[in-house]
Symmetry: C2
Subunit: 215 residues, 2 copies
Amino acid sequence: MSPDSTPKRRDPVATRAAILSAARKAFTEHGYDGAGVREIARAADVDARLIGKYFGSKEGLFAEVVEVAFEKSMMMTPELNAEAARALLTGDDPHASDGMLLTLRSIANPRAAAIMRASIERNYQARLADALPGTDATGRSALLIAICAGTLLNRLLLGSTVLTGPDAEDLIPYLHAALDAVAVAPDEQVVDRRPGGRDGTAGPAGTPQAAARRE
Amino acid sequence: MSPDSTPKRRDPVATRAAILSAARKAFTEHGYDGAGVREIARAADVDARLIGKYFGSKEGLFAEVVEVAFEKSMMMTPELNAEAARALLTGDDPHASDGMLLTLRSIANPRAAAIMRASIERNYQARLADALPGTDATGRSALLIAICAGTLLNRLLLGSTVLTGPDAEDLIPYLHAALDAVAVAPDEQVVDRRPGGRDGTAGPAGTPQAAARRE
DNA sequence: ACCATAAGTCCACAAGTGAGGACTTAGCAA
DNA sequence: TTGCTAAGTCCTCACTTGTGGACTTATGGT
């Protein structure tokens, strides 16, 4: 991009930030193994050797990227399950699922997986567990993460035809119900699920089956 | 392994099978990008060039591996959700989830993803949808696959501490409920969920919350 | 003004990748 | 027994990977 005419201004913090930003993009797009240091350096308009200078190694750079990857990630609470289900199945915001995509595309590499596990449990799963009422909060939050990850995997990475097609909207209530089955405090769940209870996709639970399937 | 003393017996079908078997193992263990043709050839005790001869390319070999990867995969029906939840969270059978592992570890590569999507929708998701009562069977089967994939991902690949620990058993009912929320015909679901209905992990649904959470 | 520190650059290495051409030779049909 | 097809082997190519050493030069403190 920049011709070698100007020998490049020296700005350590800007350089570091540029590398970090380019790395975040490259890793979420191509995964840990798929993204090369040269490619990242080129995108950051920086010499490749600087990655080693600033972050020690590719692995060190990855660890720092992962650490901030889940910051912009959408947060989930039991009350937001309806919106979460919709976002997971129709998702438009390109940055909401960046952390998940980064994880899914880098999961094949065991070292990357270890780095991500630690960071996720500390920065994301813990917050999620705090928002969950009832027992087994940590385990249930892990389950919620699993459901979200699996849905995004099937839709965005595998490219499932049903989930990418227009009929994906019809599945929102089912995904919503599945999320509620794990997230919502069990006693509330039972009450709301009664036929004649709250309808459609609103509120916790509410399996919208009453109308459909009545042949 | 075999010293070059004997120049190797010629047996095309056995050679082909050996390559296929070694490739299946390598791909499920290290993913598409992580497994090299030389490594596969060495494991099959075969010259690397033969892979090109028999399968055209690494991609061709992968496609054939994927085609049979979900054969031994455990099948799911709404009635088996309890066992499925247990298997997903405590899973011992190393071959039951081979197809899923292969998928999860190769998903970062777009070409591999395209191959897998086609094969999964044709060989696995279709069968699963046939077993689902009610509407949106295809979409719901995609959702079920997503939940299973996400759980295995979090437990086996990411290495979630809760899911790998001994407390994972406590989560079976929650996962069971989530699966039922998608798989079981909605009307049956509501009936069974009533407190005082069927208990524990048995039968469809049955969120086992009655005992827990009563402070 | 000077100079030491460190930011940025260039070249190189060793190892690995997937793929293909040219060759030897085993196995089977005549 | 003689060929001929194809199975198996060897070597090579062109390329990419992450990392490191040695270098130049801008920058800020004195």
